[in-house]
Subunit: 375 residues, 2 copies
Amino acid sequence: MVLKGVKIIDLSRVLAGPYCTMILADLGAEVIKVENPGIGDDSRSFGPFKDGESLYFNGINRNKKSIELNLKDENDRMAFLDLVKDADVVVENFRPGTMKKLKIGYETIQKINPGIIYAATSGFGQTGPESEKPAYDLIIQALGGMMSITGEEGGSPTKVGSSIADINAGMFTAIGIISALFHREKTGEGQMVDVSMLDCQVAVLENAIARYLTTQEDPKPIGNRHPTISPFSMYPTADDYIVVAAGSPKLWGSFCDAIGRKDLFQDPRFADNQLRTENIQELDEIIAPIFELKTTQEWMQILESKGIPCAPVNRISDVMENKQLKARNMIEEIDHPILGSLKMVGTPIKLSKTPGGIRRNAPKLGEHNDEILLK
Amino acid sequence: MVLKGVKIIDLSRVLAGPYCTMILADLGAEVIKVENPGIGDDSRSFGPFKDGESLYFNGINRNKKSIELNLKDENDRMAFLDLVKDADVVVENFRPGTMKKLKIGYETIQKINPGIIYAATSGFGQTGPESEKPAYDLIIQALGGMMSITGEEGGSPTKVGSSIADINAGMFTAIGIISALFHREKTGEGQMVDVSMLDCQVAVLENAIARYLTTQEDPKPIGNRHPTISPFSMYPTADDYIVVAAGSPKLWGSFCDAIGRKDLFQDPRFADNQLRTENIQELDEIIAPIFELKTTQEWMQILESKGIPCAPVNRISDVMENKQLKARNMIEEIDHPILGSLKMVGTPIKLSKTPGGIRRNAPKLGEHNDEILLK
């Protein structure tokens, strides 16, 4: 595994930090999760539960070890600093200032281990006027503009269904840490990685900013359609939904044929992509009732036979049974001492020579106290 | 810069691949974008445009160089393989099989440069029964389950407003490439990085899968509220919207006080978080009309004075003027030969010793032909 031999002391809780260290652990790093004695990561008490175990916690903390340390206690603080001595990386996602208050800030840690890579993920970053504000995924999705461009056409701003602000911050932090490891391997130099959820949310807005800069108008939610390609959207069918992407002239021709409306191909209102996008309401009024006549499966067969990109709108149960995902080992099943068999999502980073993966279930609170603290 | 001296030959087009190489270029890698002669990356012709320049293309391709090669032409193919000889990384996002057809697949490249890191980002990955299917962001958001959990409560599945399926695949590919560089630095061994957009989309679903595994019921869109914490949602105000997160007992007390309804704190229907979540409809019927009485700014002052996490729902124009983002250098302004001053989003990976950033605008098509091909 690519990060084998990399030792990470992980003080992070709940999502952005733990998602980052999950990626690193999946790639082979030894991640030692430092938790509050008797309580642990808050997300141990987040639902959904099964047999008293948080499946939420279990999914994000596989491959990690757990030790209990009370960082406000001087003995435990010393034990933590002792661990840091031969660690490669420290990860935390406290509010900026907290680590310093605990007398384990970057300056302190750096003195003990000059080559350390110290990664801090926070809502707003370590610098700037709002650095110390509290943040949740919902707050950052709102502030970062993501909600303002998501939702039904003409509808209200809408949150992305998963905690994408936390998760993207975790991913960017992982990129920063591995980059810093690469640099240290070449130069011996450690450094600090400072990642802000708000920065990350803005970094994934894509062309909304370009659209705003061009028109000086705020992009709004436009449902499922593409802003500049048509037809490229979701339609209800007789039994469910389907998404269809038929933007090119050739695909538009095949599409007219597939829905039994070859006449549309000659219709001057829909002569090219720009006209189809301008007249999308008229076009949708024609298309939508046609899609309601057959089931999603029937439409899938018709559209695929003509080479038109399309897909059902999978529910989570469909995702869990998806053949392609199973073939890619993306739905893994592990043995859990309490839950028995437990399914979770595999790692999407497929490396040919040093593959990562799920090696062990999430730790019980303090499961590795003896192994790590008594050695 | 952390990736200084890393040479990347980039055959990728439009979004997932170019987003990956943007991250790598921002971190200091030399990214040489190989484009079709006279045409270039399709996204050069994607709107929005300003003075004939695609702002979409410009945002994602800063810091890169551009050369023109027709990979179907034998001379150009040899020129490409010549470039590969002393490159560190090749990135492509063709449909699986295309590189082999062009006689520049991983096996060929590896023979010329055994230490090469070859990264392929595709819709479904290099393996599995659906490997060669076409994919767009909309298709993957639909198949990956993300749309099924996003949208208004009781409403239809909804696409995330940015192309998050492409972007997350680009991010995971960057993690794979930098990990492989780290491994090669230690061992000299190169390898292939195979990333699938569908795998990545499923990897960021977060607790939706845990919820499904617990109840065997498919999670549905629930708008902006939190599935298990209340109040934790968006509300319309007199002039706009606000998001509020007041889940803990203490914050719930402060919240009741802030909205002038101390009586709710004693109301048995809302006595704890579980009851508030179960009775969220009744609670929202009380809260929503109160929020409509004042403006977002007025509510922000009231709620912040009581320490309750809250935020306006920023539009893109608000994001561009955000003080925290500006202080973090996340809204950068660069000189562009045609557009003059051009704003774009900075890099969210802040490294203390080897900071990345935007060094130059996106290249004109073939701008570096002479520099790179004639040397």
